[in-house]
Protein backbone atom coordinates (compact mmCIF):
# COMPACT_ATOMS: atom_id res chain seq x y z
CA UNK A 1 0.00 0.00 0.00
CA UNK A 2 2.73 2.41 0.96
CA UNK A 3 4.66 2.16 -2.33
CA UNK A 4 1.58 2.83 -4.40
CA UNK A 5 0.90 5.98 -2.44
CA UNK A 6 4.48 7.07 -2.87
CA UNK A 7 4.26 6.80 -6.62
CA UNK A 8 1.35 9.15 -6.80
CA UNK A 9 3.07 11.85 -4.79
CA UNK A 10 5.28 14.47 -6.33
CA UNK A 11 8.98 14.84 -5.88
CA UNK A 12 8.98 17.36 -3.05
CA UNK A 13 6.69 15.31 -0.95
CA UNK A 14 8.81 12.27 -1.64
CA UNK A 15 11.72 14.16 -0.25
CA UNK A 16 9.83 14.95 2.92
CA UNK A 17 9.02 11.30 3.36
CA UNK A 18 12.59 10.30 2.79
CA UNK A 19 13.61 12.78 5.45
CA UNK A 20 11.03 11.31 7.78
CA UNK A 21 12.31 7.82 7.22
CA UNK A 22 15.86 8.93 7.72
CA UNK A 23 14.86 10.56 10.96
CA UNK A 24 12.91 7.50 11.97
CA UNK A 25 16.00 5.39 11.66
CA UNK A 26 17.79 7.82 13.92
CA UNK A 27 15.06 7.45 16.48
CA UNK A 28 15.44 3.69 16.20
CA UNK A 29 18.87 4.07 17.74
CA UNK A 30 17.86 6.50 20.42
CA UNK A 31 14.78 4.55 21.42
CA UNK A 32 16.92 1.47 21.85
CA UNK A 33 18.79 3.20 24.63
CA UNK A 34 15.59 4.33 26.26
CA UNK A 35 16.15 7.94 25.29
CA UNK A 36 12.93 9.58 24.24
CA UNK A 37 14.12 13.13 23.80
CA UNK A 38 12.17 14.57 20.91
CA UNK A 39 13.81 17.76 19.89
CA UNK A 40 17.37 18.44 20.82
CA UNK A 41 17.53 21.99 22.04
CA UNK A 42 20.79 23.75 21.72
CA UNK A 43 20.62 26.65 24.02
CA UNK A 44 24.04 28.06 24.30
CA UNK A 45 25.03 28.88 27.75
CA UNK A 46 27.98 31.05 28.34
CA UNK A 47 30.66 28.75 29.54
CA UNK A 48 34.02 30.13 30.36
CA UNK A 49 32.32 32.34 32.89
CA UNK A 50 34.70 34.44 34.82
CA UNK A 51 34.51 34.32 38.56
CA UNK A 52 34.16 37.76 39.94
CA UNK A 53 33.31 36.96 43.51
CA UNK A 54 34.51 39.89 45.51
CA UNK A 55 36.37 41.53 42.65
CA UNK A 56 35.17 44.88 41.51
CA UNK A 57 33.68 45.90 38.19
CA UNK A 58 36.88 47.53 37.06
CA UNK A 59 38.73 44.23 36.93
CA UNK A 60 35.87 42.61 35.03
CA UNK A 61 35.77 45.43 32.52
CA UNK A 62 39.46 44.90 31.97
CA UNK A 63 38.71 41.24 31.30
CA UNK A 64 35.98 42.15 28.83
CA UNK A 65 38.41 44.28 26.87
CA UNK A 66 41.20 41.71 27.13
CA UNK A 67 38.87 39.07 25.67
CA UNK A 68 37.73 41.48 22.97
CA UNK A 69 41.35 42.15 22.01
CA UNK A 70 42.01 38.41 21.84
CA UNK A 71 39.05 38.18 19.50
CA UNK A 72 40.29 41.09 17.42
CA UNK A 73 43.78 39.60 17.16
CA UNK A 74 42.44 36.18 16.23
CA UNK A 75 40.42 37.74 13.40
CA UNK A 76 43.47 39.66 12.24
CA UNK A 77 45.25 36.30 12.02
CA UNK A 78 42.29 34.76 10.14
CA UNK A 79 42.06 32.32 13.04
CA UNK A 80 38.38 31.53 13.18
CA UNK A 81 38.40 28.88 15.94
CA UNK A 82 40.34 31.04 18.37
CA UNK A 83 38.09 33.98 17.52
CA UNK A 84 35.18 31.77 18.57
CA UNK A 85 36.95 30.90 21.84
CA UNK A 86 37.73 34.54 22.56
CA UNK A 87 34.11 35.48 21.90
CA UNK A 88 33.08 32.98 24.58
CA UNK A 89 35.43 34.75 26.96
CA UNK A 90 33.81 38.07 26.07
CA UNK A 91 30.39 36.65 26.92
CA UNK A 92 31.70 35.12 30.13
CA UNK A 93 33.31 38.35 31.27
CA UNK A 94 30.27 40.45 30.38
CA UNK A 95 27.83 38.22 32.21
CA UNK A 96 30.14 38.15 35.21
CA UNK A 97 30.13 41.91 35.59
CA UNK A 98 28.88 43.20 38.93
CA UNK A 99 26.64 45.98 37.65
CA UNK A 100 26.08 47.29 41.14
CA UNK A 101 29.57 48.72 41.31
CA UNK A 102 29.32 50.63 38.02
CA UNK A 103 28.84 54.37 38.04
CA UNK A 104 25.46 55.61 36.89
CA UNK A 105 26.79 56.67 33.52
CA UNK A 106 28.58 53.36 33.03
CA UNK A 107 25.49 51.40 34.01
CA UNK A 108 23.41 53.22 31.42
CA UNK A 109 25.86 52.42 28.64
CA UNK A 110 26.43 48.85 29.78
CA UNK A 111 22.75 48.05 30.07
CA UNK A 112 22.15 49.59 26.69
CA UNK A 113 24.78 47.53 24.89
CA UNK A 114 24.63 44.32 26.93
CA UNK A 115 22.01 42.16 25.23
CA UNK A 116 23.05 43.21 21.76
CA UNK A 117 26.77 42.84 22.40
CA UNK A 118 26.19 39.43 23.94
CA UNK A 119 24.14 38.43 20.90
CA UNK A 120 26.92 39.40 18.55
CA UNK A 121 29.56 37.66 20.64
CA UNK A 122 27.39 34.53 20.61
CA UNK A 123 27.28 34.61 16.84
CA UNK A 124 31.04 34.88 16.68
CA UNK A 125 31.34 32.03 19.19
CA UNK A 126 28.95 29.77 17.27
CA UNK A 127 30.45 30.37 13.87
CA UNK A 128 33.94 28.98 14.18
CA UNK A 129 34.90 28.27 10.57
CA UNK A 130 32.92 31.15 9.08
CA UNK A 131 35.19 34.19 9.25
CA UNK A 132 32.90 36.37 7.13
CA UNK A 133 30.00 35.83 9.47
CA UNK A 134 32.18 36.34 12.52
CA UNK A 135 33.47 39.61 11.12
CA UNK A 136 30.00 40.88 10.39
CA UNK A 137 29.06 40.44 14.03
CA UNK A 138 32.42 41.65 15.25
CA UNK A 139 31.72 44.96 13.54
CA UNK A 140 28.68 45.80 15.63
CA UNK A 141 30.30 44.38 18.75
CA UNK A 142 33.20 46.76 18.12
CA UNK A 143 30.90 49.78 17.94
CA UNK A 144 29.52 48.77 21.30
CA UNK A 145 32.92 48.22 22.82
CA UNK A 146 33.87 51.73 21.74
CA UNK A 147 30.87 53.10 23.62
CA UNK A 148 31.86 51.12 26.67
CA UNK A 149 35.49 52.25 26.41
CA UNK A 150 34.42 55.86 26.37
CA UNK A 151 32.85 55.62 29.81
CA UNK A 152 35.37 53.29 31.41
CA UNK A 153 38.72 54.98 31.88
CA UNK A 154 41.67 52.64 31.81
CA UNK A 155 44.63 52.02 29.59
CA UNK A 156 45.01 54.00 26.41
CA UNK A 157 43.05 52.51 23.51
CA UNK A 158 42.96 53.26 19.79
CA UNK A 159 39.87 53.56 17.65
CA UNK A 160 40.91 52.27 14.25
CA UNK A 161 39.12 52.50 10.95
CA UNK A 162 39.18 50.24 7.92
CA UNK A 163 37.80 52.03 4.87
CA UNK A 164 37.54 48.94 2.68
CA UNK A 165 35.33 46.54 4.65
CA UNK A 166 31.64 46.24 3.76
CA UNK A 167 32.11 47.08 0.09
CA UNK A 168 33.76 50.36 0.90
CA UNK A 169 31.35 51.42 3.62
CA UNK A 170 34.09 51.01 6.17
CA UNK A 171 34.19 49.69 9.71
CA UNK A 172 35.79 50.52 13.03
CA UNK A 173 37.53 48.49 15.67
CA UNK A 174 39.21 49.05 18.97
CA UNK A 175 42.85 48.23 19.55
CA UNK A 176 45.20 48.08 22.50
CA UNK A 177 48.19 48.99 20.37
CA UNK A 178 48.96 51.84 18.03
CA UNK A 179 50.18 49.59 15.21
CA UNK A 180 47.42 48.67 12.77
CA UNK A 181 46.46 45.03 12.63
CA UNK A 182 43.27 44.74 10.60
CA UNK A 183 40.69 42.25 11.95
CA UNK A 184 38.32 42.70 8.99
CA UNK A 185 40.69 41.95 6.14
CA UNK A 186 43.07 39.75 8.13
CA UNK A 187 46.21 38.43 6.51
CA UNK A 188 45.20 39.64 3.07
CA UNK A 189 45.67 43.27 4.13
CA UNK A 190 47.01 43.30 7.67
CA UNK A 191 48.06 46.93 7.84
CA UNK A 192 45.13 48.53 6.05
CA UNK A 193 43.50 51.14 8.22
CA UNK A 194 44.14 54.26 10.25
CA UNK A 195 43.95 55.40 13.84
CA UNK A 196 40.86 57.58 14.05
CA UNK A 197 41.01 58.52 17.66
CA UNK A 198 42.75 57.78 20.94
CA UNK A 199 40.56 56.89 23.86
CA UNK A 200 41.59 57.57 27.49
Amino acid sequence: MLPSILYTLNFNIMKAIIYSLALASLFLVSCGTGDKTKTPSNNIDSDGAVTTAGSEAKATIKQIFAAYFDLKNALAQDNSPSAADAAKQVIGAMSGLDKGSLSKEQAIVFNDIYDDAKGHAEHVAENGGNLAHQREHFETLSEEMVELAEVTPGEKLYLDHCPMFNDGKGANWLSESKAISNPYLGKSMPTCGTVKKEIN
Binding site: L21, T39, S41, D116, T140
Partner: protein, 152 residues
Amino acid sequence: MSRKKTILLTLAAMLISFQFYPLVYNDDKRVTSVHFTRVYAVPEKVQAILKNSCYNCHSNSTKYPWYAYVQPAGWFLASHIKEGKSELNLSEFGGYSPRRQKSKLKNMAGSVRDGSMPISSYTMIGRNARLRESGKKILLDWLNTTRQALTK
Protein backbone atom coordinates in the same frame (compact mmCIF):
# COMPACT_ATOMS: atom_id res chain seq x y z
CA MET B 1 14.53 -11.58 3.39
CA SER B 2 12.67 -12.06 6.64
CA ARG B 3 15.21 -9.86 8.35
CA LYS B 4 14.40 -7.10 5.92
CA LYS B 5 10.76 -7.60 6.65
CA THR B 6 11.33 -7.28 10.39
CA ILE B 7 13.19 -4.04 9.96
CA LEU B 8 10.49 -2.61 7.72
CA LEU B 9 7.78 -3.68 10.11
CA THR B 10 9.65 -2.14 13.04
CA LEU B 11 10.04 1.11 11.16
CA ALA B 12 6.38 1.13 10.24
CA ALA B 13 5.39 0.45 13.84
CA MET B 14 7.61 3.27 15.01
CA LEU B 15 6.23 5.69 12.47
CA ILE B 16 2.75 4.87 13.66
CA SER B 17 3.68 5.25 17.32
CA PHE B 18 5.28 8.62 16.57
CA GLN B 19 1.88 9.94 15.56
CA PHE B 20 0.72 9.74 19.16
CA TYR B 21 3.17 12.37 20.30
CA PRO B 22 1.31 15.57 19.53
CA LEU B 23 3.05 18.81 18.67
CA VAL B 24 2.26 22.30 19.84
CA TYR B 25 1.95 24.18 16.59
CA ASN B 26 3.36 27.64 16.06
CA ASP B 27 0.14 29.18 14.94
CA ASP B 28 -0.68 32.47 16.61
CA LYS B 29 -2.03 34.65 13.85
CA ARG B 30 -2.48 37.79 15.94
CA VAL B 31 -0.61 40.81 14.65
CA THR B 32 0.10 42.87 17.74
CA SER B 33 1.67 46.28 18.14
CA VAL B 34 5.14 44.71 18.41
CA HIS B 35 4.84 42.95 15.06
CA PHE B 36 7.48 43.93 12.51
CA THR B 37 4.81 45.41 10.23
CA ARG B 38 3.59 47.64 13.05
CA VAL B 39 7.05 48.77 14.09
CA TYR B 40 7.93 49.89 10.56
CA ALA B 41 5.89 50.97 7.58
CA VAL B 42 6.57 47.91 5.45
CA PRO B 43 5.62 48.21 1.77
CA GLU B 44 3.32 45.48 0.47
CA LYS B 45 5.96 44.04 -1.83
CA VAL B 46 8.33 43.61 1.09
CA GLN B 47 5.56 42.16 3.22
CA ALA B 48 4.86 39.59 0.54
CA ILE B 49 8.52 38.56 0.53
CA LEU B 50 8.65 38.31 4.31
CA LYS B 51 5.51 36.22 4.29
CA ASN B 52 6.79 33.93 1.62
CA SER B 53 10.37 33.46 2.75
CA CYS B 54 10.71 34.44 6.41
CA TYR B 55 7.60 34.19 8.56
CA ASN B 56 7.39 30.43 8.60
CA CYS B 57 10.41 30.21 10.88
CA HIS B 58 10.74 33.79 12.12
CA SER B 59 7.28 34.61 13.41
CA ASN B 60 4.61 33.20 15.69
CA SER B 61 2.53 32.11 12.75
CA THR B 62 3.79 29.26 10.58
CA LYS B 63 1.94 28.19 7.48
CA TYR B 64 2.39 24.46 7.81
CA PRO B 65 2.70 22.07 4.92
CA TRP B 66 0.62 18.90 5.22
CA TYR B 67 3.57 16.75 6.27
CA ALA B 68 4.02 18.86 9.40
CA TYR B 69 1.12 16.86 10.76
CA VAL B 70 3.01 13.64 10.24
CA GLN B 71 5.76 12.76 12.67
CA PRO B 72 8.70 12.85 12.75
CA ALA B 73 8.62 15.47 9.97
CA GLY B 74 6.66 17.79 12.25
CA TRP B 75 9.28 17.51 15.00
CA PHE B 76 11.98 18.33 12.54
CA LEU B 77 10.10 21.46 11.47
CA ALA B 78 9.37 22.39 15.08
CA SER B 79 13.04 22.38 16.03
CA HIS B 80 13.80 24.51 12.99
CA ILE B 81 11.11 27.01 13.92
CA LYS B 82 12.22 27.13 17.53
CA GLU B 83 15.75 27.91 16.50
CA GLY B 84 14.63 30.46 13.94
CA LYS B 85 12.43 32.30 16.41
CA SER B 86 15.12 32.42 19.07
CA GLU B 87 17.33 34.23 16.58
CA LEU B 88 14.70 36.53 15.11
CA ASN B 89 10.99 36.71 15.85
CA LEU B 90 9.27 39.19 13.57
CA SER B 91 6.01 38.85 15.50
CA GLU B 92 7.73 40.28 18.56
CA PHE B 93 10.21 42.59 16.90
CA GLY B 94 9.06 45.61 18.89
CA GLY B 95 10.06 43.80 22.06
CA TYR B 96 13.73 44.08 21.19
CA SER B 97 15.62 47.10 22.46
CA PRO B 98 16.11 49.86 19.85
CA ARG B 99 19.75 48.89 19.56
CA ARG B 100 18.87 45.25 19.07
CA GLN B 101 16.29 46.17 16.41
CA LYS B 102 18.91 48.03 14.44
CA SER B 103 21.31 45.12 14.75
CA LYS B 104 18.65 42.69 13.64
CA LEU B 105 17.95 44.77 10.54
CA LYS B 106 21.64 44.77 9.76
CA ASN B 107 21.99 41.03 10.21
CA MET B 108 18.81 40.32 8.26
CA ALA B 109 20.35 42.21 5.36
CA GLY B 110 23.65 40.40 5.86
CA SER B 111 22.04 36.95 5.79
CA VAL B 112 19.93 37.74 2.75
CA ARG B 113 22.88 39.26 0.92
CA ASP B 114 25.22 36.32 1.47
CA GLY B 115 22.43 33.85 0.79
CA SER B 116 22.60 32.10 4.16
CA MET B 117 18.92 32.93 4.54
CA PRO B 118 16.41 31.57 3.73
CA ILE B 119 18.36 28.56 4.95
CA SER B 120 19.01 25.88 2.33
CA SER B 121 17.65 23.00 4.41
CA TYR B 122 14.33 24.82 4.26
CA THR B 123 14.31 25.92 0.62
CA MET B 124 15.19 22.38 -0.41
CA ILE B 125 11.77 21.21 0.72
CA GLY B 126 9.87 24.48 0.69
CA ARG B 127 10.77 25.54 -2.79
CA ASN B 128 8.35 28.44 -2.79
CA ALA B 129 10.32 30.08 -0.04
CA ARG B 130 13.30 30.62 -2.30
CA LEU B 131 14.23 34.23 -2.82
CA ARG B 132 14.71 35.29 -6.39
CA GLU B 133 17.29 37.91 -7.26
CA SER B 134 14.54 40.49 -7.82
CA GLY B 135 12.95 39.79 -4.44
CA LYS B 136 16.33 39.79 -2.79
CA LYS B 137 17.05 43.25 -4.14
CA ILE B 138 13.70 44.66 -3.04
CA LEU B 139 14.16 43.28 0.46
CA LEU B 140 17.78 44.40 0.76
CA ASP B 141 17.08 47.91 -0.48
CA TRP B 142 14.26 48.30 1.96
CA LEU B 143 16.24 46.89 4.89
CA ASN B 144 19.16 49.18 4.18
CA THR B 145 17.07 52.33 3.78
CA THR B 146 15.15 51.55 6.93
CA ARG B 147 18.31 51.02 8.93
CA GLN B 148 19.93 54.17 7.61
CA ALA B 149 16.86 56.17 8.57
CA LEU B 150 17.27 54.90 12.14
CA THR B 151 20.89 55.97 12.35
CA LYS B 152 20.09 59.59 11.60
